[in-house]
Amino acid sequence: MGIGNIVFIIILLAASAAFGYQASKIRRNILLGKDLDRNDRKKDRWILMIKVALGQSKMVVRPVAGIMHIFIYAGFVIINIEVLEIVIDGIFGTHRAFAFLGGFYDFLIGSFEILAFLVLFSCVVFFTRRNAINIKRFHSKEMKGWPKSDANLILVVEVLLMFAFLSMNSTDYLLQQRGADHYIAAGAYPISSLMTPMFEWMSTDGLIIYERSAWWFHIVGILLFLNYLPISKHFHIILAFPNVFYSKLQPAGKFTNMDRVTDEVKLMMDPTADPFAAPPPTDSDAAPEKFGAKDVQDLTWKNLMDAYSCTECGRCTSNCPANNTGKLLSPRKIMMDTRDRLEEVGKNIDKHGPEYNDGKALLGDYISEEELWACTTCNACTDACPVNINPLEIIVDLRRYLVMEESKNPSELTGMFTNVENNGAPWAFPQADRLKWAEEF
């Protein structure tokens, strides 16, 4: 085993361990959320996942971006087979370990090349579109700074990785033709064979150095990229699948029932209940659970998984009636804020332990009341999201906290509440007038 193989194995192990560590942190953070049972209707869930996550059915609503996204995605998934070969070659010092597959190997390498080219092409288009063309959803307030660089960095890295892959093949192809040692003739090179004029001038040694460097750049780049995912919106390539699997399956209009409220309301409405009876014993002196959500831990784990799955594409926001008419609310920002706050809470736990309270909260420090009250609960955002993220649930849970814990709502709504309570209607009409219309025929 050469020194190169040992270095490779060390890098591979370190990168995998680092990724595992980061992923476990994200898992822990997601599980800070409240319980929610999403294990019913397994079959429907699998079908949905195959359709929406694997089949990207909601991406193609915007056909051009949708198809190019499928190129990048297919390239990502399929080129992983190539990575498997690279890993084997790296560990055992072989070259093109799968070459024994013969004609099928030619087919594989040929299709990797075509995909790599499509990925490269799509990334260049996406980069240009994002930066040179004025598409509103890429330039909103919440996309300034890190989110913007994150998006661009991913595209640049993918272009570099794909170029490394293609130029590696191109030099390999030249070396095969020159009959260089070790470079067995294998594979079909529909794209990289066209690139040979870029490298033909090199000496055989020069070609070998380039080929090896590109090989290392490609694999180390992929391993670094793997470790970049967890801090990036790009983590969606992994979480999109479980996130769609655990989607809400009921009609979009159905909001959750708060069972704890049900218990209390039943007690209030039960004429036989003793109002002075001792409250049911609780098993600890823990603070009573609050109504609604103030911070990320009050949301469900699915809301938190949503936040990590968000790719910041802005399709939700560009369909939001409130955002479209200049209101502060942006459902994408709701998701980005939830993730940012959750990351902050996670870091606090790492540094100071689980009991630490930094005095901040999602509500107030990240998301303002003005944003929350602009929502019409229209579900356009949940419908538009390609990975079935639900910003509306978070908005409503935060509203619940504002109303039920702090009685903080726009004053007109207090009027509406009072009317419903006293007149059984949101307006101050006497209940006795309910059937007036029937006298008017």
Binding site: P251, A252, G253, K254, F255, N257, M258, V261, T262, E264, V265, M268, M269, F291, G292, N319, P321, A322, N324, T325, G326, K327, L329, E370, W373, A374, C375, T376, T377, C378, N379, A380, L398, R399, R400, L402, V403, M404, N409, P410, E412, G415, M416, F417, V420, E421, G424, A425, P426, F429, Q431, A432, D433, R434, L435, K436, W437, A438, E440, F441
Partner: protein
């Protein structure tokens, strides 16, 4: 045809030992709002014409709690819901039709969690089945024949409950020219009333949602903007007024169009 229509209440029906096939849940807007009352009357006329045995709760009906729930007041919502469920169950109601997508969504999807289980249909769905069963017949589209009509999808009928076809199939029966807005069906833009927005001023912005939506509708140069929700109706009517287009474009509920076409 303008003879008085008898609208029996559940209490009356019960007293005479009778029970209806379907309860007509009128909703607060349909009971109190002058514009929405016309929709209510159109639905009642259609039900009567098709000889549907129906009744209303009258003064025993209360707000479903929808605006309270969307605003985050779960306590108030559940109080309302449980009172309504008590009434509905006392009358052993099985099937409900309503002209309001908000009532429709709440009773259909949210009452079951509180023990209220009913078959709930939106009025456009019921009217569609009445026509399919031959219980209601239209002689052509009447005054709407050949007119341009665009349908604004109410969020709580469309996206919330996946019903896009029933209202459209009724509009087709009018022999009208059905034109779709740029954003329609699952992509339809909200009118701006949902989520308790109806009862408050909008947050600061650069436009009212209903103005944005009406502008889009008016681009299709329709003679009629059709809706299936009393709140959408208010919002779109205000929008048309905003653009001073009352001369060219009218806002009607699908039920009103059907009632007119059936000469009711």
């Amino acid at each position: 045809m303008n003879e008085a229509i008898k609208v029996p209440t559940m209490a009356e029906m019960m007293a005479s030992g009778d029970s209806p096939d379907v309860l007509f849940w009128v909703g607060c807007s349909g009971s109190f709002d002058d514009r929405a009352k016309k929709i209510t009357k159109a639905i009642a006329k259609i039900l009567a014409k098709a000889k549907v045995k129906f009744a209303v709760l009258g003064t025993e009906e209360g707000c479903t709690g929808d605006p309270a729930k969307r605003a985050g007041n779960e306590f108030l919502y559940q109080m309302q819901a449980m009172m309504n469920i008590q009434v509905l169950d006392a009358y052993e109601i099985k099937k409900i039709v309503t002209g309001c997508p908000h009532c429709f969504n709440t009773i259909k999807n949210e009452y079951p969690d509180l023990g209220g289980n009913y078959e709930v249909v939106h009025h456009t769905q019921l009217i569609q089945s009445l026509i399919d069963e031959g219980r209601l017949t239209l002689q052509g589209g009447g005054e709407f024949k050949g007119k341009r009509i665009t349908f604004h999808d109410p969020c709580y009928l469309g996206r919330a409950n996946d019903e896009y076809e029933a209202p459209r199939s009724l509009l087709e029966k009018l022999d009208a020219e059905l034109v779709e807005m740029k954003r329609c069906k699952s992509k339809g833009l909200c009118c701006g009333a949902g989520g308790a927005q109806m009862f408050k001023d909008a947050e600061p912005g650069n436009k009212e949602v209903n103005v944005e939506r009406t502008e889009e509708a008016l681009q299709e140069k329709p003679a009629v903007i059709a809706t299936g929700c009393p709140f959408c109706n208010t919002m779109m009517t205000d929008g048309v007024k905003h653009f001073e287009k009352e001369g060219e474009t009218q806002v009607f509920d699908v039920a009103e169009l059907i009632a007119k076409a059936a000469d009711l």
